[in-house]
């Protein structure tokens, strides 16, 4: 007993149009014509003969003649009729195909024809199974037994009715003459083979999702319909157009690129699991597999989006970026994705973390976006929503795509992956092996378990990031989120020795001071001096000592002159200059910004703003110095988001 609600709830509950059914019925009725239809013959059984049996070859010949097609096509058409359930085979009743020989078939009675309007009810199936149980004295086939147990559980409340009805139907059927009874039983069995297919087969009546609109109902023509038509046509007029040569060219290019990768158009290696029931293909292409397949790696070279969307590809890319010390771009992009697709309740929190980690001045994993975007983003972050980081994310995405992606493809990481990628041999299964495979099918991992594994992976990755990307002598702060981890930051220190940089207090030098105690005290002084005052300062004394220090660095070795001088070059100035613009709109009191320590590093490129990187130092002794220095070091001060500190500032700068 089902309770049907009369409310319109806009759910999807209607079976879609199945045009094939109406068309098949027409063909079937044509076949019945005594003059132009199919010729039937009686089927001889042990006890009796039953009329109206037709041979497979007759069906195929008739179809070929009626529709003027070749035998192959007629055969597929005939098989479709059998698969839908309009004709059923008398021998080998579980295989719903037309055999082009003398095997016998019969027409199904219209009561058992498939319909579009009414789905096949489980109640009917339960009654059928109960009847079969009675006839077979409890010995059902395995899939039937499974269905039976399941229905007994779910239809427990009407089980008495089901059993009663089964018995009555059984008795009613017995009232008929023997040949008719045989026919009826064959018909019923054929009906259920179509609608509850045995394992290893699919039902031809599978149609995917239910639809929202009932195709059998007439659409009432209201003014609303016309309004919709008008809106649609207006929008079509306004739509921008592309030359067909361009769009077709794009299609052709796409087809040419993906032709070998399409499982319909070319063979999957080793074999397509949907055809051979062998799941090697899926296990080889799991998201977190160690060694990817050659085809998969080739797909990564098609476009940057392909690389990013494949988990394994993204891992590879991440590894490459780690080696290049530009992992924060990908981390930022992933953080933005997380924000976009995550829960609404956590948006504010996530946005804050992202700001603290990637965008703020002095952030541990500062990303390089242009001033305008930064302006827009920070402004939007005051009232964060799901898409607030879209411009920044797009910028970083383009940066990665245009720059890192190309280098990735030439990098040793990628070349190594390509070399190690495997190319499995094609399976060649015999018919017996195919049957074996289909018997051995097992369901895959439950999605709950998959999601748990995914979360564990993410947590593991999050833990890993801190260790490898940070300076070896900083301690990650536990209460900050995944993407951050620092507690020691140098201040917005004074500019390097070049005086023309003096007006950018936010520009710490890449040739940073060492980490002995003198520098600490020096920088404390600078800190005090460098309070949000964009006015020109001349920390010449400081810079001189810094120059001396840097020379000392140089002499100590482990430091390329090239990088040092490069960072002193005007180029750095411009970079520094831009970075000076990259400040939050609402004043961020540098005094409140925590003291920032910048390590020395080998700089491969020179146009990276100085305040972004903190990377492990190459030489050992410096590390030890610094570690000692900072062990009892400056207290941890977090980066504060500008909108939070609005209330506490006294509006300087």
């Amino acid at each position: 007993m089902t309770i049907r609600s009369t409310l319109q709830d806009h759910g999807q509950r209607y079976r879609p149009r199945m045009a094939c059914l109406k068309k098949s019925e027409k063909v079937l009725l044509e076949m019945q014509d005594p003059k132009t239809g199919l010729k039937s013959q009686p089927q001889r059984l042990v006890i009796t003969t039953i009329p109206h049996a037709i041979t497979g070859e007759d069906i195929i010949a008739w179809l070929a003649d009626r529709f003027q097609v070749d035998t192959q096509e007629a055969r597929s058409f005939g098989s479709m009729l059998v698969a839908l359930g309009y004709i059923y085979p008398l021998q080998d009743h579980k295989r719903l195909v037309i055999k082009p020989d003398a095997s016998l078939y019969r027409f199904q009675t219209p009561y058992f024809w498939p319909t579009q309007q009414w789905p096949v009810e489980d109640t009917d199936y339960a009654i059928y199974l109960a009847k079969r149980n009675i006839r077979k004295k409890g010995i059902l086939e395995m899939h039937e037994q499974e269905h039976y147990n399941r229905l007994h559980k779910w239809m427990n409340h009407k089980w008495d009715f089901i059993v009663m009805q089964a018995k009555e139907q059984y008795r009613a059927a017995k009232e008929r003459k023997k040949p008719d009874r045989v026919v009826f039983d064959c018909q019923e069995r054929a009906y259920w083979v179509v609608h509850r297919p045995p394992p290893g087969t699919v039902s031809a009546m599978d149609y995917g999702l239910d639809r929202q609109i009932d195709p059998n109902s007439d659409e009432a023509v209201t003014p609303d319909v016309y309004v919709r038509i008008m809106i649609f046509t207006q929008q079509s007029i306004m739509r921008p157009r592309v030359k067909s040569s361009v769009s077709i060219g794009a299609l052709v290019k796409y087809c040419a690129t993906y032709n070998n990768h399409d499982p319909f158009l070319s063979n999957c290696l080793p074999s397509n699991p949907w055809i051979t029931d062998d799941v090697t293909f899926w296990t080889l292409n799991m998201p977190c597999v160690e060694i990817p397949t050659k085809m998969r790696v080739e797909r990564w070279t098609f476009s940057f989006a392909e690389l990013l969307s494949d988990t394994r590809g993204r891992d590879d890319f991440r590894l490459f970026l780690k080696k290049e010390f530009s992992g924060e771009n990908l981390a930022f992009w992933e953080a933005c994705e997380d924000l976009k697709w995550g829960e609404a309740a956590s948006i504010k929190e996530k946005a804050e973390h992202i700001y603290k980690t990637f965008l703020a001045r002095g952030a541990p994993r500062w990303i390089n976006i242009d001033g305008k975007t930064m302006e827009v983003t920070v402004k939007g972050l005051k009232h964060p929503h799901r898409y607030v980081l879209d411009p920044a994310q797009t910028h970083i995405y383009m940066l990665m795509k245009k720059d890192s992606y190309g280098r990735y493809q030439k990098s040793p990481v990628f070349k190594d992956t390509v070399k190690k990628a495997i190319c499995p041999d094609e399976h060649r299964f015999s018919v017996a092996q195919l049957e074996q495979n289909s018997k051995k099918r097992r369901p895959s991992l439950s999605p709950i378990i998959l999601r748990q594994m995914e979360q564990e992976q993410r947590a593991k990755m999050a833990a890993n990031i801190d260790i490898t990307q940070l300076c070896r002598f900083t301690t990650p702060v536990p209460h900050l989120a995944v993407y951050s981890g620092f507690n020691d930051y140098p201040t917005a220190t004074a500019s390097p020795s070049l005086t023309f940089l003096a007006h950018t207090p936010a520009c710490p030098s890449p040739i940073s001071v060492a980490l002995d105690s003198t520098s600490v005290s020096e920088r404390r002084v600078e800190e005090a001096e460098g309070d949000g005052n964009p006015a020109a300062r001349a920390p010449v004394g400081v810079s001189k000592s810094r120059m001396a220090l840097s020379l000392r660095r140089l002499l100590k070795g482990g430091y390329t002159p090239a990088t040092m001088f490069a960072s002193l070059s005007p180029k750095c100035h411009s970079a520094a200059g831009t970075s000076s613009r990259i400040q939050p709109i609402s004043p961020d009191q540098p005094s409140q910004a925590p003291p920032r320590r910048i390590g020395n590093f080998f700089q491969i490129k020179v146009d990276i703003p100085p305040e972004c990187r903190i990377y492990p130092i190459e030489s050992e002794d410096e590390e030890e110095e610094s570690r000692a220095a900072f062990r009892g070091g400056v207290g941890a001060k977090e980066i504060i988001c500008p909108w939070e500190s609005l209330t506490t500032q006294n509006g300087t700068g």
């Binding site: 007993m1 014509d33 042990v46 109206h52 409340h157 009232e175 055809i275």
Partner: protein, 236 residues
């Protein structure tokens, strides 16, 4: 005081009798609907004819009478029952009957709708309509089935003689009955449990099972199907 007790005993006895009536009527309804299904299976086939359709109408009317009476009595049974704790078990039995009746009603309705559709598709109003009937192999009519229908007895059939509607009205009436019953009495149908275990139906029909094996062999026909089920994908 004692008179109230006596009254309740009398009431209980009355209700028990009514329940017994309903149970018998339920069985009768099951018989009639299964016969109706046997008749409907032949619709549109070569065994179709005016005799079949008449028999179907008769069966339908009978079922309708049983349904009407049963719904009325069940409504009375279940709306009368007070919330007194002593009659909880009776209430459970009544609820079971309620659920079984509604399931039977739903099942019968789906058969009726299908029959309506098929009669619309294969109207036998003209002579050459017979040409389009499907050759299914069923030759005989359903005389014995009709006889089975005629033998059905329900407790109140002789008493109530009402007019018999045609198919469309019949369906509409049953639908109205169904929704009315669902709205009038709140019965939690999931709380009803089956009285029989799974698979218990195999044991009870020994008398009917003679000659069943030969029927199975008959169904296989020539070209033995002794080989195991072939597990190949059907091509569509």
């Amino acid at each position: 005081m004692t008179s109230r007790w006596r009254r309740s005993v009398v009431e209980l006895a009355l209700r028990g009798r009514q329940r017994g009536e309903c149970e018998r009527a339920q069985e009768a309804l099951g018989r009639v609907t299964s016969c109706f299904q046997q008749l409907a299976v032949s619709l549109g086939s070569s065994a179709d004819g005016s005799f079949l359709r008449d028999e179907m109408d008769e069966t339908r009317h009978l079922a309708q009478r049983i349904c009407r009476g049963l719904s009325r009595r069940l409504l009375r049974l279940l709306s009368d029952c007070g919330p007194a704790p002593s009659i909880v078990e009776d209430r459970q039995v009544s609820e079971r009957l309620w659920v079984l009746f509604l399931s039977a009603l739903e099942h019968f309705l789906s058969d009726l709708r299908k029959a309506y559709d098929l009669i619309g598709r294969f109207p036998l109003t003209q002579r050459n309509d017979r040409r389009s009937l499907v050759n299914t192999g069923c030759m005989d009519g359903v005389v014995a089935v009709a006889a089975r229908v005629a033998s059905v007895q329900a407790p109140w059939l002789t008493m109530e003689e009402e007019q018999s509607p045609d198919l469309t009205n019949h369906i509409a009436e049953l639908e109205a009955m169904q929704s009315e019953m669902q709205l009038r009495v709140p019965v939690a149908f999931w709380s009803v449990e089956a009285t029989q275990l799974a698979g218990a139906e195999c044991g009870g029909l020994e008398g009917l099972q003679e000659g069943e094996d030969s029927l199975e062999e008959l169904m296989e026909g020539e070209g033995g199907s002794r080989r195991p089920a072939c597990c190949c994908l059907t091509c569509v």
